[in-house]
Symmetry: D3
Subunit: 161 residues, 6 copies
């Protein structure tokens, strides 16, 4: 069976920290689908479509990686339907770890799909979408934390927001 | 003096994880009162009354356990008035632990009432009301995580919500 | 160069825990500026001005300490402009620590300003503005957790809120 | 059934942090047995008998508390034989918590005896036997961290060591 | 390229917690090599050979899994030489996580080999070789925590120890 | 009063992670003394003198930094005698943080000297003397983790060990 990993998140925006995980996941599994989840609990800075497009642009030349939106329903149902064999997550901190573990167990109980965690690479382990949004909202320079397409989406998207 | 423990929470909904703590607390103390607190900071999935009723149904045959609602005011005032001798809490994770400790100290400073913590049993240590609500909202099957009365409350309550 | 520390926070309200850090920072650095930040993500219990005034009253007799409001923009831009040489933070817990570390790195990357952390003194390590607000909202006595001027601000401010 | 708690440790030496837990446990349960365990993995600073005697002297006037040595075998076997109904532990930190939880689960699986955890009181939450031993070995003053009988045992015991 | 995971540890003894990780790793990767490392820092309860044999017996009918001993040198050199594509680790707790992360980074820097972490399944998340050794040394029943071959190795090995 | 920081550790060996902290501390305080402590609990890889010499060589051109050995007694007594105004520590992880905090409190109680913590820079946050020793013992290349003088000390020292 072809190994196929799902890397899901809100990616609001997709940072160089997410890029680190996606590259490493693409190296371990034959196929990688990045799934952009709409956060129903709070409004996003970028629209779901803007996030999908930015990530697609980022991986335009990497045929192993595809990008899809999940606009509702369980991630594991989506993943099973897509033929995924595993879920992957990046973990930067103890807080991340404690957030991921119960979700991983419940996802396995619901679907049989297991979760594998990558430790964020040291050089990007302090970068998060929420800090990027915070710095951006205060007028700071976030270009070091984003792939070019994400930065452009943020600059454009924020203007229209 | 009769030992009387208070087990308080929002219980939105009451899960098999809460059930684990309640059973163990009922085994250690002569009397156990489960106090359902109305979360004023966000709206609940189930009404306060629906949560109280579901827990009462769950312990219908256990005379050691009673259930009450707390609709405002300090938990420790309620507890002192009820003749409680101790507060009990379940702790699943480091995050839980760090949340509980300052609250326990402040409750003791305000009232003299001490707090005792149970470590969640391994088999239910990944279950939380918030994950149950999330899976339920996405249409997933949460029956493994809830006592029958909680599941029924959720199914019925969600229809009317 | 004169050492000049910035101690920033929302201070809603300023507690005896914050006082502990401010006193210790004032002992280590020649100048200390307490910066009251307006939290744009949620409404505060006390107005920005009420918080500034209460802290000013608390340090009325300490010429090493000044208090300012930050109503927008990056803290590090404010700090550079004020001639600060370092940022200081109090850390009570592992959660605090994990919150501070990425912010410290990003602040250093944005501005070159480093962050130094004090471990909260044991006797106040369980005190937080959020617990104070919670106890206060439930009608509890918070006088043990606040300097007199903060307590007065809370009592007065809450009446008008 | 009379509630009977076991508070076990190596207590090398018994500190004011241990005293905090013992007093609070004695307030919650009708009977408290402090069990001094011989650490087989490393040599102790004080002999098992010296530790038992110091704790006995500390609780000489508290009829609720008795002290015993455990020189081998499982703690839970000892506890069951003594008629204990619960084990109690003090927890100062996340590290403590993570150490206690698996042991609590295994003790319950081996014996049915549950474990209840107290959060160390803030004012003593930084005190540990190992730090006391370290300061003592370097010639520092540890009198603030020990009940009088423990301090005397350390002073006398160390002379003979 | 065939995916080939290395699962290394001291496995002194190999527990049902290790078995959980090995089964899940074998489901994700085409080949799994379990590498038994000789801990040079402290003496083991079971000999290296006894540990290898017990694990071989445990996986006798699973052709995806092989077992080897590592008696010195870097794990990543061994892994590269064996054609491994990834290292896998089980993580039970925050302490485990913090132990694994720096090692994972250094292993990647030394060899290019990445590490993937599995969260221990809830039902075995409290089981560790060290607790098993401790219970065993005190005469307790550890049969619930070990695969049959490990239990036999322990019983036999300990007799000769 | 001249600000004078003490940065103490066993530094066995002094890594680029320690270098990061020392540079940042030297930027914040007028004077920095690096104190090499002899670990009495386990034998060191490098002799106390070899460690002192390597650090001295590393800071040969930085007049703000001096290096001294502490061969017994309390660090805070040494620090007070040297006219230090503060202790500084690097913190890489939650485990580090939990190790540092109680020691900081006890050092302040013993001497009045406060402790300030730096969060390790991301790019070196996974590096520790113990991992370096482990990789070195297994024949791995540790040159990326050590300043030149430390690497030389290790290579030379290990030959004689």
């Amino acid at each position: 069976m072809t190994s196929h990993a799902i890397y899901a998140g809100t990616f609001d925006p997709f940072t160089v920290g997410h890029l680190d995980i996606a590259h490493r996941a693409a190296d371990q599994f034959e196929q990688l689908t990045i799934v952009v989840v709409d956060n129903t609990q709070k409004s996003s800075l970028l629209s779901l479509q803007a996030r999908v497009s930015a990530i697609q642009a980022t991986f335009a030349n990497d045929s192993r990686v595809s990008v899809q939106a999940l606009d509702g329903g369980l991630l594991v149902d989506f993943a099973k339907h897509a033929g995924a064999t595993v879920l992957v997550r990046g973990v930067r901190s103890v807080s991340d770890f404690e957030y991921e573990v119960p979700m991983a167990h419940i996802n396995r109980e619901l679907s049989g799909l297991d979760t594998l965690m990558f430790a964020a690479s040291p050089v990007v382990s302090h970068i998060s979408s929420s800090l990027v949004r915070q710095v951006f909202a205060a007028g700071g320079d976030v270009s070091a934390y984003l792939p070019p397409a994400s930065l452009q989406a943020l600059t454009t998207g924020a203007r229209n927001a």
